[in-house]
Symmetry: C2
Subunit: 189 residues, 2 copies
Amino acid sequence: MRLPIWISNRHIHLSQIDVEKLFGKGYQLTKLRDISQPGQFACNETVSISGPNGKIQNVRVVGPTRKESQWEILMWDNFTLWTKAPVKISGGDMNEAEGVTVVWPVGEVYVTHGLIVAQRHLHCTTKEATDMWLKNWDIIKIKIPGQRWLVFENVAVRARDDYALDFHIDIEEANAAWIVPWSRWEIVE
Amino acid sequence: MRLPIWISNRHIHLSQIDVEKLFGKGYQLTKLRDISQPGQFACNETVSISGPNGKIQNVRVVGPTRKESQWEILMWDNFTLWTKAPVKISGGDMNEAEGVTVVWPVGEVYVTHGLIVAQRHLHCTTKEATDMWLKNWDIIKIKIPGQRWLVFENVAVRARDDYALDFHIDIEEANAAWIVPWSRWEIVE
């Protein structure tokens, strides 16, 4: 199969409460461009994230707002910030997700939970899942052939009627597999 | 098995000719610390690498000098520098390895070849290889279990009596697999 692969850089999802803490009372996020999942968009807004040691600037906000804020960083950022963000599925249970981070552009938010490294996952509609003999929350393996051939295990299936088909990984995972626009991928189990 | 994994950041190996171009006539590299392979060492010396677009500072030199210089970058650095370094085995045939980079601390070197992203490999002595039913230049698969479970395919076996056992990958590959000091690995084929 030669299907879409979506590669994320570090980014954050914000609650409206945190949007207002960061950008001012009544502030609304503004759209820069659509991204792979319907209704989701990269915002013009960016923030800085500070950990106990270092700081990362120009982290993109992804809209629309969510019930809870979620800060999705790269594994490498844990070394830059001196944080210990665990690998968790985006939008999943955040209770265990560590947060020790202060973020600001105008105001500041002290993050007590929701700092994660996103778990690789496959987005698809319910029908696409059924066609592939899969269902929501299945765990599958995906193979990316090539010179940096990798088999990604522990890929969570996220099937919902308003999702679009894509295999969703982060920049480090993409580079480890040398993913290029014409990369093929295959579900192996 | 719970055996050593060696994680490389970007680094360069230099010929004595390039050492002198960069640091001055008669200059000798100086040792900062030993690294995993016997006789190899991280140097006190660092350089900057410039591509058509960007620049990366503080790239560590690894000694001793080699017959030919070799510039081992991360896949991500190709985006920073606007280069197209291919994945190649370190110390292997460099004819195809693209080079478009100017490097300097004191002097400058214009790199016409030898700019690569290192291919993942397993170092071991000839005896260790034989004990694992392997030989030099075999291609194997190595599995890293865990939450970011990965199977690395296309791992080149580099067996030589003066090598020490380690599975050698770069930072992006390590982060994609969430490798921590106590990570287990296993040869699966």
